[in-house]
Symmetry: C2
Subunit: 199 residues, 2 copies
């Protein structure tokens, strides 16, 4: 049996590079093949279709981010863990810029198209449930509540505001400066103060 010159991982990596640079719509098989220095045939030898390939790229990025994020929530100092998780967003963006561009500059639907194999759809759903469950559990641990409003505030403080802070730098093709961390931290405290409000 002939050994592979292009492994699944190599092709996913090439597709990630192209999609991060030009967006999912611009990530044609031809461009991905050029990026990997491979013929198109070798790509189809490994992936059923372009949609599946881009889907795998997206699933891998989200899985990696989410696993690291959720792991941080397990810290013994709950308050500290919350802030660490919020600050993980800019850090992740600096260290995994391509993946970050994929996830922050595009919609889930730009990757997750109808026509995905069931297995991939299930994995995507699983990721969503897993994140939801982790957030809810953590919210209860931190605030003693897990009602809708408290959850939304926490989600803003730990994910949405950090992502908003980071996005303009990704759009310009750069990475967030240290100032962003201060903004994330300040926002975190301000948002958490709203947590004690009404019922």
């Amino acid at each position: 049996m002939r050994p592979a010159r292009f492994k699944d991982v190599d092709i996913i990596e090439a597709a990630l590079a192209v999609a991060a640079r030009e967006g999912p719509a611009g990530a044609s098989i031809a461009k991905i093949a050029a990026q990997a220095d491979a013929p198109t045939g070798s790509i189809y030898h490994r992936f059923r279709s372009r949609d599946v390939l881009l889907g795998e790229v997206w699933l891998k990025a989200v899985t990696d981010f989410q696993n690291a994020y959720i792991k941080l929530l397990d810290g013994s100092d709950v308050e500290r863990a919350a802030l660490d998780a919020a600050l993980f967003v800019p850090r992740y963006v600096r260290e995994n810029t391509a993946e970050a561009r994929l996830m922050l500059l595009h919609r889930r639907e730009d990757f997750l198209v109808p026509g995905w194999p069931v297995k991939m759809l299930e994995q995507a759903e699983m990721l969503g449930r897993q994140m939801q469950a982790a957030q809810q559990h953590f919210c209860r641990k931190l605030t003693g509540r897990d009602d809708r409003k408290t959850m939304r505030i926490l989600c803003y403080a730990m994910v949405e505001a950090p992502m908003g802070a980071v996005r303009p730098y990704l759009e310009k093709g750069g990475t967030p400066p240290p100032l962003v961390d201060s903004l994330v931290e300040a926002t975190f405290h301000a948002a958490m103060a709203l947590t004690g409000g009404d019922a």
Copy 2:
């Protein structure tokens, strides 16, 4: 001369609806034609190409948003004007959901492709300069400074954080609840507090 059944505006409106629903990449001429209940020929009668049409859609949305936003900065009470501008983001999203989806869920480059007529490129550049100038002038008026750091903080407080707060609702196809306004306001104050820092 025969009167037009489809005016420029009608076609732009249809293109906006499709692009807001399916993203710029999914906004094919066929779909736009169906949305406007027009033949494809009538679209090409008015717009040189699909790229130009989508570009006009984007330019119109950004121009409208920006004009309203900049007008708010002129309020006599500067502090109040700043907060009003920040809160304008969720308000705009509620009142102009389609335009908001266009601008917040996609990149500028997804609309502004190379191959645009010079006139449109110039208009896009002009918009950028105009926003930059307005922000800088306002920053000076509010804080007494317009250095890079202060500008970044203000931009986060007034635009980026609000957009981050609003995005998840747009992604789900909904609009931001009132809670978002509280988060925007809290973030605004927290970020502004960082303004007094070092040089």
